[in-house]
């Protein structure tokens, strides 16, 4: 593999994703235009913007989930730890390192234990004791262990919505990724569950790089270190407007459009 080092001024270890001139098309329709962004390691990066602005499409590009749609075409480069994910990565390997949590909790219709063990079992056959340990630590990291430790063999669907979402996070943690992508992880949850997930994200930041898409402005300001604001142009194509430290984006935005979005003038 060839290491691409187009930005020698930035140290590789502090940048997880380095995106340069990224475009994405659904068939003939362009959905993302010229995205340039560096996503920091061990920090929470929030993507905000109105519906349809391409923030979900972009986060799904980061672990190549868009490959599932046959008509998707991309150009430009997304480098993960210096390697182009569309050219130098096998998608399975990439997704093992870049985990994802979805908008709606989507546990498998299996037991809680099997849900967590699903990923590890794919990537090798860990011995039972090791697997038990992994399930336990994953659930502990996701702050779910105390609630489910007595019923690991019960169906995951018997959990509440918030618990299911934390289970999905635990499931992602179990494959031991470096990055966790969260696509509106709290939009289907009640305020209490939302608070727990936010707390969890804050905790996980120490070990993982977290990227979160959210519609909730307060959430972005509460938990994220950096915020990217996306917007949609006349051709219904999404683009990045402003990217920077969260406090600056919210308190002192450079772009007028960011300011009017944050103050609730549109979107």
């Amino acid at each position: 593999m060839v290491q691409i080092n187009e930005y020698p001024e930035q140290a590789v270890d502090t940048v997880a994703f380095s995106v340069h001139g990224f475009n994405l098309w659904y068939g003939a329709t362009q959905a993302l235009k010229d995205v340039d962004i560096d996503i920091e390691s061990n920090a929470i990066t929030a993507f905000i913007g109105p519906s349809g602005c391409g923030k979900s499409t972009f986060i799904r590009s980061l672990n190549r989930m868009n490959d599932l749609i046959d008509t998707v075409k991309t150009s430009g480069c997304i480098c993960y730890q210096g390697y182009d994910i569309y050219k130098q990565y096998d998608p399975m390997d990439l997704r093992k390192q870049v985990g994802m949590v979805f908008q709606k909790p989507n546990p498998f219709p299996m037991s809680i234990y099997d849900n967590i063990a699903y990923g590890p079992r794919l990537h090798g056959r860990p011995p039972k004791a090791e697997l038990d340990e992994l399930v336990c630590t994953s659930l502990q990291k996701a702050a779910l262990w105390d609630e489910v430790k007595d019923r690991l063999n019960k169906s995951a669907l018997s959990l509440s919505g918030g618990q299911q979402q934390r289970l999905c996070i635990a499931r992602t943690l179990a494959i031991e990724p470096d990055v966790i992508l969260m696509d509106e992880p709290t939009s289907a949850l009640d305020p209490i569950s939302t608070a727990k997930i936010e707390e969890l994200a804050f905790e996980l930041k120490k070990q993982y790089t977290i990227v979160v898409v959210t519609h909730n402005m307060q959430q972005a300001s509460r938990i994220s270190d950096k915020t990217a604001f996306f917007l949609i142009d006349q051709d219904r194509c999404g683009y990045l407007v402003e990217y920077g430290i969260t406090e600056e984006i919210f308190l002192n935005p450079k772009d007028k459009r960011t300011e009017s979005y944050i103050s609730g003038k549109f979107g």
Partner: protein
Amino acid sequence: MTRTAPTTFERRRRRSDSVAVAMIKIWAFTAIVILIVIIGYIVFKGMVSQSLQESQIIPTFSTPDQSLVVIANKKSGFHSMPYDVLRQFFDGRSFSLRRITHVNEDVKLFYETGLKSDISEYLMLDEKSFQRSEASQLSASEVLKHVSANPGGIGLISKETALPSNVVKLQLEDVVLAVHPSVTELLGNIKLSKIDQQAIKPLFNGEYTNWKELQGQDLSIVVVTSLSEVRQIPGSVALVPYREAFLAQSERLQVLSSQTRRNFTLRYIFEKPVEMGKYGGISTIIGNTLLMVFVTLLFSVPLGVGSAVFMVEFRANKRLLSIARTGVDLLAGVPSIIFGLFGLLVFVQLAGWSFSLLSGSMTLALMVLPTIIRTSEEALLSVSPSLKEASVALGATKWETIIKVLLPAASPGIVTGIILAIGRAVGETAALIYTIGSGVDFASGPLSSARVLAMHIFLTITEGQRMDRAFASAMVLVFLVLFINILARLSARRLIRNGTN
């Protein structure tokens, strides 16, 4: 706000709503009633067989002073012994009980020492018949012992003694209706040849006065007691022993009796068929049916579910997909007899498998394929795409996602499809007529002929003319389908237990 009376339009709207609800209820109720009637009728006919019998011997009537006591083993199923049946046995013309009862046993005759002349006189038989029937002459106690040991044992003794528990005394029916020839005469397009069993008692109680009332000639009924009187008085009728009437060559009226017997017995399930299913049970046929279903599923399930996965997962080629789907729909609409013909040409002749389990099962596998493909496709499409995403996001390949997430999540629907397929396969006849053969033995290998239940029903009616047997088999078939259904449902529940809990 004040409440206002509903407008005419509103009233009409509500009325039409309640009419619609009532209609739906009536339809649903009718459908359920029809189902219950059909299944109930099959079960009733399967459990009980009613047959009209015509014979000279009047059932349940016997002459009072009989010198012979007929005993039989309880397993034989006999409760009474008509004179002519006993005569057939001792005449050596009938060797098996199965023509008279549902028991498939050879007849073994025993009689007490010294009764030979009595028997030959009573049954009007000669020495030759005795030899033919291989009846054994034994002491009274020996007769009892042998009858109790042989399920097909029938014994004759001179006087009633204490019987072992599994031996019963049979009533010997030997009475006929002797009439003056004028009663059975053909006159003016009217001829009386038989009367109903139910009419005999009223006839002798004097409730009828004219033969006209029994669809006979205009002749008054005279009830007499002896054969000599019958011969002289026109319109006379008497109850006389068969033997006397036979020897005197007197006119006799046939008696119509309806016989109600237990049709289905446990023996019927566990015994082998005899004479191509005319007698005996259907154990091997049930076995063949299960075997056939198994072989059919062995081929159709992997192929069908595989096709469904292909059609769901590889949707990129729209043209190919639409061709495949049209093909499947067309295949589902093809009449089963066409599949039978195809099986005859391809499996029986081209492949050279002849009429065999394999030919039949392969034909059925093709026939049920569309059902399995369509239901599996529906089931797979109904699995939330978010599960697929979750699996892929954890680094699973397409194949792993299909095997570990998609198929388990779709399994209830797939199992439903398989149940439907089993239902079709078990009940299929037309596709099997030319392919599976009709041997009643348990299939010894894939290339041996194997009669299955649906075919058995078809064949017992067309060849054996045994309506009662067909209904007993039909009942077994209904319960077999029910049983398979329950089994499949239970296994489906086990499959999804983790899912729903």
